[in-house]
Amino acid sequence: MFFLTEMEEDALKEFFNMGLGMAAASLSQMVNNEVLLSLPQLKVVPYDEATRMLVAKEEEQLVAIRQNFTGELTGTALLIFPGAESLELVRTLLNEQMPLEVLMELEQETLLDVGNVVLNAFLESFTQMMSIQFEFDAAEFLKGSGAFLLDIASHLAAQRLAMQEEANEENERAFVLMMDFKTHDEEDAQHTLSGFVVLLFSQPSMEILKRELKTILGAF
C-alpha cells in the first residue's frame, strides 16, 4: 500500500495542467473557439473507490474515450462523460444548434477526436517530465455504465499483461480527475461541462511513477 505525498501530488497536477494547457490551445484552434480546460480536483484512490465514484451515476449511460498504454507504465486512460454532456460538448465545440436526440456516427467520431487530444495531453505529461518508455494504443469510443467502463477485465491491455489478477489487490490505485471544459457559444455565453478523467495504473507502474516523481522533486 502506498500513496503520494502532497508534494508529489502537487507536482503531478502541475504536469497535467501544463499538458491540458497545450490540449486546450490545440482544441481552440481546431474548433475556432476559445476552449479552456482545467483540473479542479485530483484524487488518488483505490480502484474500488474509483468504480464507486462512477457507479454513483449508474442509471446514466456514460460515454468514454479510452486509451491504453503499455511499457514501463501500463494502464488505461479514460475520459468519461454522461451521455448527454458528451453530446453537449460536441455541440458547443462545433457551435451546432441542431437538436439531435441520438449521438450520431460523426459526432461519436468527433468526440473520439476531442477525447484523444485531451488524453494525449495527460500521457504526454508523463513522457515529457519523466524518462519513461511506453507505447500507446489508438483511442476507442465506449458507451455503457460506469462499472462497465472501469471493468479492468474488459481492457485489452489488462488481459495482455495479466493486470487482471492484480486488480483485485487492495493496493491497486487509480487517479480520478475532475475535468472542466469551458467554451463559448455564438452569443458568447460561457458553457462549462464537467467530465472525469480516470487513469488506471498497474501496481508496478504506480511504483515507477512514484520513483520518477521523487527523482524530479529531488532535483530541486
Binding site: D10, A11, L20
Partner: protein
C-alpha cells in the same frame, strides 16, 4: 548595482521550486519572493518590486486580476503571465495592460531573457 527583487506567484509548489532553483543557481543577486496565490502575493509584496512572474490559473483571483492590482501598486513593475495555454482573448487583455507572457514550464533561458534586460 542595487539588488533587484522578483516575485513568483503559483499555486503549484513544483513550479515555485523550479523557479527558486533557477534564481538561486543562475541569478543569485536577485531577491525572490514566493507566493501561492493572489492574496498571499499582495500581502508579501516587498516595498520595491521589479519583476513578477504570475501563474494564470490559480485558486481565488486569477493571474490577470492579480496583475492589475500589482500594477496599480507598482506602476513600473514588469509583469509576466506564466501559462501553458495562451488564449487569444486573454492575450489581448494582457497586452493592453503591457503584460508579457512566458510559456510553461519555466526554464532557465526564459528567465534569463527577462532578467538580462535589467542589467
Amino acid at each position: 548595482m542595487a539588488n533587484k527583487t522578483a516575485m513568483i506567484v503559483d499555486d503549484s509548489s513544483l513550479a515555485r521550486m523550479m523557479a527558486r532553483k533557477i534564481f538561486t543557481t543562475r541569478f543569485p543577486d536577485w531577491g525572490l519572493v514566493e507566493a501561492k496565490d493572489g492574496d498571499e502575493a499582495l500581502a508579501l509584496a516587498p516595498p520595491a518590486l521589479d519583476v513578477a512572474l504570475i501563474d494564470f490559473n490559480m485558486p481565488g483571483m486569477n493571474g490577470l486580476e492579480l496583475s492589475e492590482k500589482l500594477l496599480t501598486r507598482f506602476p513600473s513593475l514588469a509583469v509576466f503571465l506564466v501559462t501553458a495555454n495562451i488564449q487569444e482573448r486573454m492575450h489581448q487583455r494582457a497586452e493592453s495592460m503591457g503584460i508579457g507572457f512566458i510559456k510553461k514550464p519555466i526554464d532557465e533561458p526564459k528567465i534569463a531573457d527577462i532578467l538580462d534586460k535589467f542589467k
